[in-house]
């Protein structure tokens, strides 16, 4: 394995999980989004989405704010600076890998 190809094994495993990649890809394009919007965009179930959001929050990649809109509970998710940087690095690593493995 060439050194530049090893970059893929160094990718952030927390982001490399498909559902979490999609969540971050949605959040990177917005300032904040609520749980319902993320659920529609990712196609995940409430339980699954909730688990993935918790993991991303634990890593400090997203910030979750629990509030109310009227009497309706509202979960707002926002990507942190750390999350944006991590996602940027992840994309660059993937791009490098794809570029190096082109036939």
């Amino acid at each position: 394995m060439r050194t530049d190809l090893r970059s893929l094994s160094d990718v952030d495993r927390l982001i490399h999980e498909p559902s979490r990649t999609v969540i971050l890809a949605v959040l990177v394009a917005v300032e904040s989004a609520d749980f319902l919007y993320l659920q529609r965009e990712t196609g995940l179930t409430k339980g699954n989405l909730s688990v993935h959001l918790s993991k991303l929050e634990e890593a400090g990649y997203i910030a979750i704010e629990k509030t109310y809109r009227g009497k309706i509970p509202l979960t707002l998710c926002r990507m942190t600076d750390l999350g944006r940087q991590a996602f940027k690095n992840y994309r660059e690593q993937l791009k490098l890998f794809v570029d190096q493995t082109k036939a």
């Binding site: 890809a25 949605v26 990177v28 394009a29 917005v30 300032e31 904040s32 989004a33 609520d34 749980f35 319902l36 919007y37 993320l38 659920q39 529609r40 965009e41 409430k46 909730s50 809109r69 309706i72 509970p73 509202l74 979960t75 707002l76 994309r91 993937l94 791009k95």
Partner: protein, 255 residues
């Protein structure tokens, strides 16, 4: 990956228009804006009705967009966010929109300033410049066309191209009509200056009032046409949106 991120950013921008509320609101604003123009063109000069129409138009122009934004936001809170979720655009996107708005306003003010300077300090060109202002509604229509086309590209929503096409056709109609006004009824504003005892502001006011009195009917027609097109487009989108996204029953959010 970059393309996917771009698509997501485009979808984010398109989300504001997903429910048809923006189209309906803009359509109503244009139709309502057309009413004072129509009244102004029909009412005798200096009458109370003309004054009310003129004031109503100014109020609508100044407050209409702000009121529209507030009403749409409130309507979305009650109808859209519970159905398909809440989304806040990135600050950079909002700054870009504000920047474009500020640049447009600056352009209009510079244009208006140049026209005023031309009229006041270059008497040879003054009447021609005033006559040229008859095309202002056409320029506004073309500006609206550009806005719709840019929105179409930014959001990848096809109906904006159709609305842009309608605005372009209406603008061309206005341009032809304005041309007929000018060639059919050649106007020399110098007697107006003379009749106003040499007072340039009064002379200019008279010139504007006479010229635009005949053009305002066209503006009213243009506003009604564009407004109805937006309204119909918005209602169709709204119907489809409500049909595809019924209000969730029972648990909300993560419950």
């Amino acid at each position: 990956m970059t393309d996917n991120i771009s698509n997501l950013a485009r979808r984010t921008c398109a989300y504001w228009f997903i429910d048809g509320l923006a189209d309906i609101g803009s359509g109503i604003l244009f139709v309502v804006l057309g009413i004072p123009y129509l009244l102004w063109s029909l009412a005798p000069q200096g009458s109370a009705l003309a004054k009310i129409a003129s004031t109503g138009r100014d109020v609508l122009l100044l407050l209409g967009i702000a009121i529209l934004f507030i009403v749409i936001r409130v309507a979305k809170q009650h109808s859209t966010y519970p159905r398909t979720g809440y989304l806040e655009e990135r600050l950079s996107e909002r700054r870009q929109v504000l920047k474009i708005g500020a640049m447009t306003l600056t352009g209009v003010l510079v244009f208006a300033g140049l026209i005023t300077v031309g009229i006041l300090f270059f008497p040879a060109f003054g009447p021609r410049l005033i006559n040229g202002l008859v095309y202002f509604p056409t320029f506004f229509g073309l500006f609206l066309t550009i806005v719709q086309v840019v929105l179409g590209f930014r959001t990848d929503i096809k109906r904006f191209f159709v609305l842009g096409g309608i605005a372009a056709l209406a603008s061309m109609g206005l341009a032809v009509n304005s041309f007929i006004y000018l060639t059919g009824y050649p106007v020399d504003w110098r007697p107006l200056f003379a009749s106003s005892s040499g007072s340039i502001p009064v002379g200019l006011s008279l010139a504007f009032i006479n010229l635009f009195h005949s053009v305002y009917q066209d503006v009213a027609f243009f506003c009604a046409l564009i407004g109805l097109a937006m309204l119909v487009s918005g209602l169709v989108v709204r119907r489809s949106y409500l049909h595809q996204n019924p209000l969730p029953v029972g648990a909300h959010d993560e419950d």
